[in-house]
């Protein structure tokens, strides 16, 4: 290190604790408490990155989350790499590796810098005006545009870190632990409110905590000493929770806020494993006090972007807080008193200040006098017209401002420097306030937007409310809190404040230069390289709304969201168009306030926790028996059970055959089950199903079809009458929750007079379905006490039974067309009943089958699957299920819609069977059906909904929907595939056992 830039420091940096880190491959040292920015400055490094568009060299500009330029990639080429990290925010830790972004081959020599020379032909919106020829070439241009755009690099490996969420409910939330926030927190907590105080920094006290000037005193103590005592006191209050390194990202309606608590970004990588990286706090606060402070404004003048140009307040903070001098020859440029605070701080630390350029002509305050007393040259009524030095500022030239501030006069003076501090006054940080729906007003005297109307129970206090000076803050804040919290008395009523700050300011949004504007580069948005010229160009071209200007010039659309430049953009628009600032409005401040890591937002909902997996009580058996699974809604269903290396086709053929030849067993537990009770249960079913229910005898089962009110098939299933006023309804697996919701809706809102109660019992029962010619033999072995004769226990009936001591319900119902039984038993006995069936079925080669075989078997019988053979455009009539639509019933859900002009059309798509000419050819589900492939445009009559090779029929079978299909029996149609045409014949959808003999076999 050639220079010693570490000056006598505050106690906020631990100089005994050295930390090494790497920047662009070289190793450097800093101290505990340093940010990457302060450590780089300590090492005399200003050049950190390149700008977005022109690839201009850029340095550290601020000391906070508003930083537009000094953004880096951390830990390149590792799984913990992260793009676009602000050097001003990241605390250094042992082993930190950072590198510059958006430059190649290096930040010192960047090929992209050529854009800077091309900048005359790259004004705002240039890309809208060119790259259009030849027409097909845009993607080729775009390839290069994309390559040069973007900043850092996306990670390419999964994230090793973990994140979590936490809900917090508090009485009072205080955002920002500066002096106003501390006063608020202490007051709220001491008055019994459950209080949460949040600050994005690792320490409390905001900017007052490093304010060591004799010019700012509270009750005769230097302000930082006074505040330190207050902080020590609040740390002891029990009902006050304090969270540092926590930034509020979003302020939504109803005082719902999101904050990110950063837990490991400041510790060495090897210590991070198994620790939570970020915690997303979801805060619901009864009251919110926003004390987010203010951001210093830059000044807009020619070449105001060079490395070595910083906000004046940042220079002060680097000196006072981190004990780092940003330069050895400092010049300050200001339009207000803030820069003098900086000058005096630097002077106090022995850092040289060459000059202060103040655009105010007549200024007079204690601070200025004090500065001049220390032999610091002050140029009053001057402006900077240009800066020099490519990778680090080395000189400024200044000129006198005309009276109206629109021109420069006199001759140019050059001042050598290696650092320029700029201060354009302060902008209240109203971002969160406006996110919450608050309305702003414009205060003309100092050209700031401040809160006007709150949309929820909240206030803004301190400088985010436009009270900038110490005396203003301490006179307004206690009063505001007292009123807001409805207190009789408050600790902070009498203060003796010494504040030497004079509020005068000469606001010139765009400072004049000796060159014409067209030849200058006065940056407004540093990251996106938008200049004042670009804004004027946009206005010239008719973009008048601030949102238009923003979008056309990309001002405010960088990763800093224009925290520094947005006000100047507005100001320049206002000046150019002659409209009033207050009437222009601001652009919307969109959440998050500072960018929020996706992982933080997602929290624990990754990997297996992405969504719940519902598993049946028999699931483990399926796993042990090597089943493949299918996702059906949230359920995991056994799909097929491959044996000895079978593929799916072979397994399904084997399973299907076994089920028809002897016995098959299916886990049907996932079907939705709704318990329906009440004296009006039958009437209720009459209204929700298309068919009639009143006459269903106790102990009998019936298949029902449920429609939407628009007449389209919604769900289906078998419902069993368990008692006079008691039914159990089954629904499809995927439809269970929505069906229950829909039934509750009708019951509660349309038919509250019905005495009916609905309870979901899907998870309470396991359902084992045994089918096939030998099913009776198997089930009767398990339930020996039950009379399984067809007379006592016919198809579509149910019996209460016992397996051992355990009650179960046995339904003789069938979705396969085979003689079959469904045993419903309390879920925790499900696996054991299944195993009993397997045991009892051994001699009959009982074969477990999955959903795929179930689909095949039911297709052989022409049974529909709602959602596969229907698609929310099918009525029961379309399905050729007219038999299930009661003509007698006065009304049921969806009935009226069946008689609209379109739904009664004869040529609607109707469900039919399809047989291929070649019995071995299996159609593709989803394939389209046509009658004439030569017709153009080709007319699609419908599509194949279900298709299988049936091992029982030894041919391919399919179901499909075809326009007017009902009347096309036997007709030949064509399935035009990409590479061939398949001839099919329209057939009866029931392919097997039309007489239903097997049900009673």
């Amino acid at each position: 290190m050639t220079k010693n830039l570490r000056v006598k420091t505050s106690k906020l940096i631990d100089e005994t604790y050295k930390i090494s880190f790497k920047f662009n491959g070289s190793t450097y040292y800093g101290y505990k408490g340093d940010t990457l920015a302060s450590a780089l400055l300590f090492n005399d490094i200003h050049l950190v990155g390149r700008s977005f568009k022109y690839h201009r060299p850029r340095g550290i500009m601020t000391a906070g989350s508003e930083e537009p330029n000094a953004i880096v990639q951390l830990h390149n080429n590792t799984s913990r790499t992260e793009p676009n990290v602000r050097a001003t925010e990241i605390e250094i830790y042992e082993g930190l590796e950072a590198s510059s972004q958006n430059c190649w081959p290096s930040v010192n020599f960047d090929i992209g810098g050529i854009n800077n020379f091309l900048s005359p032909v790259l004004p705002a919106g240039f890309y809208y005006k060119t790259f259009m020829w030849p027409a097909s070439f845009w993607e080729k241009y775009e390839y290069f545009i994309r390559k040069s755009a973007g900043l850092g690099r996306s990670p390419t490996e999964p994230d090793p870190d973990i994140y979590e969420h936490k809900y917090i409910h508090c009485d009072v939330l205080i955002i920002g632990a500066g002096i106003a926030g501390i006063v608020a927190a202490k007051t709220a907590a001491k008055n019994g409110y459950k209080t949460l105080l949040i600050d994005e920094k690792p320490y409390l006290g905001g900017s007052t905590i490093y304010q060591n000037s004799e010019h700012f005193k509270i009750n005769n103590q230097i302000s930082s000493s006074w505040l330190e005592k207050e902080i020590n006191e609040i740390k002891k209050i029990e009902n006050l929770e304090i969270k540092t390194r926590t930034s509020v990202a979003a302020y939504h309606g109803y005082n719902f806020l999101l904050a990110r608590e950063n837990l490991t970004d400041h510790i060495p990588l090897e210590q991070r494993n198994n620790k939570i990286r970020h915690r997303l706090l979801k805060i619901r606060a009864k009251k919110v006090i926003t004390a987010t402070g203010s951001l210093e404004r830059p000044l807009i003048f020619n070449n105001n972007d060079r490395p070595g140009i910083l906000l004046s307040s940042a220079i002060e903070k680097y000196a006072n807080f981190y004990g780092v001098a940003c330069g050895e020859k400092n010049v300050l440029f200001t339009n207000n008193d803030s820069a003098y605070e900086t000058a005096l701080s630097l002077y106090q630390k022995g850092i040289n200040v060459e000059a202060i350029i103040d655009n105010r002509e007549e200024t007079d305050s204690k601070l200025i006098k004090e500065t001049e007393k220390n032999n610091i040259k002050v140029y009053k009524g001057y402006t900077v017209v240009d800066t020099y030095g490519y990778k680090r500022i080395n000189k400024v030239s200044i000129m006198q401002l005309s009276k109206d501030g629109q021109k420069v006069i006199g001759s140019k003076i050059s001042i050598l420097c290696d650092c320029l501090g700029i201060s354009g006054g302060w902008t209240p940080a109203v971002h969160l306030f406006t996110q919450s729906g608050g309305k702003l007003k414009f205060r003309d005297e100092d050209q700031v937007f401040i809160p006007k109307e709150y949309s929820s129970d909240q206030i803004s206090i301190g400088s985010c409310n436009g009270d900038f000076t110490l005396d203003e803050i301490l006179s307004t804040v206690p009063k505001a809190i007292k009123k807001f919290l409805n207190l009789k008395k408050i600790d902070y009523e009498d203060f003796e404040i010494k504040s030497s700050f004079n509020k005068s300011k000469r606001n010139i949004w765009l400072l004049p230069s000796d060159k014409i504007l067209g030849k200058t580069k006065p940056f407004v948005d540093y990251q996106n390289d938008a200049t004042a010229k670009d804004i004027k160009l946009a206005l010239r071209e008719g973009f008048r709304s601030i949102e238009h200007v923003k979008r056309y010039t990309t001002t405010g659309m960088g990763t800093d969201q224009g925290k520094l430049g947005n006000m100047h953009a507005l100001g320049i628009i206002s000046e150019t168009t002659g409209s009033k600032m207050g009437e222009l409005g601001t652009t919307t401040f969109r959440p998050p306030y500072t960018p929020l890591t996706f992982g933080t937002i997602v929290g624990r909902s990754v990997g297996e926790y992405f969504d719940v997996s519902r598993k049946t009580a028999i699931h483990e058996w399926h796993v042990e028996n090597k089943a493949e699974f299918e996702n059906v809604g949230q359920w995991k269903r056994a799909w097929y059970y491959p044996k000895n290396g079978e593929n799916m086709h072979d397994a399904v053929q084997r399973e299907s055959k076994a089920a028809r030849d002897s016995a098959g067993i299916l886990d049907a537990s996932t079907l939705g089950k709704i318990d329906i009770q009440g004296t009006d249960a039958s009437e209720f079913l009459n209204r929700v199903y298309t068919n009639a229910w009143s006459k269903l005898a106790i102990g009998k089962c019936r298949y029902g079809l449920m429609l939407n009110e628009d007449g389209m098939v919604y769900d289906d299933g078998v419902t069993t009458r368990l008692g006079e006023n008691h039914y159990i309804m089954t629904t499809t697996t995927g439809g269970a929750a929505t069906v229950l919701g829909k039934l509750e809706d009708y019951l509660q809102t349309e038919w509250p007079e019905l005495d009916v109660y609905l309870t979901s019992v899907t998870d309470h029962y396991a359902t084992v379905s045994v089918c096939g010619p030998n099913s009776k033999k198997i089930v009767s072995q398990i339930i020996p006490d039950l009379d399984f004769s067809d007379k006592n226990f016919p198809h579509m009936s149910f019996k209460n039974a016992k397996i051992g001591n355990i009650n179960c319900r046995v339904m003789r119902i069938s979705f396969t067309g085979e003689h079959s039984y469904e045993i419903n038993i309390q879920a925790n006995y499900g696996k054991s009943v299944w195993e009993k069936c397997m045991e009892a079925g051994k001699e009959f080669n009982i074969t477990p089958y999955g959903t795929e075989t179930m689909h095949l078997l039911r297709a052989e019988k022409g049974f529909i699957i709602v959602g596969q053979d229907t698609d929310a455009t099918m009525t029961p009539i379309d399905l050729q299920m007219d038999w299930i639509v009661s003509k007698k019933k006065y009304d049921f859900i969806g009935k009226r819609s069946l008689y609209r002009s379109d739904t009664i059309r004869e040529d609607r798509k109707q469900l039919v069977g399809l047989l291929t000419e070649n019995p071995n050819e299996v159609l593709e589900e989803g394939a389209q059906i046509v009658s004439d492939i030569k017709k153009t445009p080709i007319e699609m009559l419908g599509h194949v909904t279900s298709s299988y090779y049936s091992p029982n029929l030894k041919k391919s079978i399919a179901l499909g929907v075809v326009k007017g299909g009902k009347n096309m029996m036997g007709q030949k149609l064509v399935i035009p595939m990409e590479n061939k045409q398949i001839n099919v014949t329209v057939a009866d959808p029931v392919f097997l056992d039309k007489e239903n003999k097997r049900l009673n076999a």
């Binding site: 676009n84 979008r551 996706f598 969504d611 596969q868 002009s901």
Partner: protein
Amino acid sequence: MKNKYSLFSLVKNAFSYHENWEKAWKDPEPKKEYDAIIIGGGGHGLATAYYLAKKHDMKNIAVVEKGWIGGGNTGRNTTIIRSNYLWDASAGLYDHALKIWEGLSQELNYNVMFSQRGVMNLAHNLQDVRDLKRRTHANRLNGIDAVYLNTEQVKKFCPIINTSPDIRYPVLGGTLQRRAGTARHDAVAWGYARGADEMGVDIIQNCEVKGIKRNGESVEGIETTKGFIKTKKIGVVAAGHSSVIANMAGLRLPLESKPLQALVSEPVKPIIDTVVMSNAVHAYVSQSDKGELVIGAGTDDYVSYSQKGSHDIVEGTLNAILELYPIFSRMRMLRQWGGIVDICPDASPIVSKTSIKGLYFNCGWGTGGFKATPGSGDLFAHTIANDEPHKLNAAFNINRFVSGDLVDEHGAAAVAH
């Protein structure tokens, strides 16, 4: 004739420091009367005016916009353009639009950056596979360039997708439409505005419609914050606020306006060079020319005009993004925002005349209207000029809600067994 935009004109203007560019559109005060007025200065509205002037020789027309042009859903959407729709009517409509997109930059002399980087739709369960195959077959027969991809082909086309069979909802396949892609949303509004303005259309911003004046069953004009403007034809293209305008005319529409959210990440170097959509785990993502990941979320289930949605929706979307792209976990959300979409019960739009003579509605585009912008404008202009729909938008009439002849693009109902 306006200055032509070109590289040459950029270089030429560089010599005068870009101080001689003329206005892209004027900022006129409204005239007393127009032959037609378009309510709503978004992409669809401006396109409608452009085609009325260009193809139907109606020059005395105005577009009135409450705020600034392109400030509604045009400037808030995720800019996906595709035409791989299931039903013939939809395929016809959206492919008509896609064909115009393919030459739009040249037609408007404004680079709308239509980038045919392809759109993939992923399947995550067996019913998705059936549905996507069905759609692909229908697309092929309708002349739309969609193909079905298996999981390996999906991975090959977009290597950063997590196609592991071990994730909660593995990718089982997908479709790809190569002609599909994205465009620069603002440029579409601005390009049409510039083109319309050149042909004499008045684009009147900051002009809010307060009422629609009717004489019996015909319209007579509109009341606005800039006074009464007389006209015999009103085309309403006020997405989000369609029902509000309809109420002024005493009409009811089958619409609900709901919040729809989107977000972008910080910009990074190219990492994904196509558009990937997944309905089952609800996430769609592309990367803008600037480098931001552009991510669309779903709608909330309640009516709202606040342009704000609930955080749960954003969270759910990012859950899905990280499920499919675990590498994005350390990327950061830069901005999130909301728009208002009006949704029809069948998820298809209304581009139709109404029971009131001279009153036309173009609405109900739900979450997917951007892609249709040029086609919608063209067909709506045809409908207004001729008082009859074009054959491509005939199916999208209001009467379908009475007859039941819906164009149901919801896709399949809930997967059920």
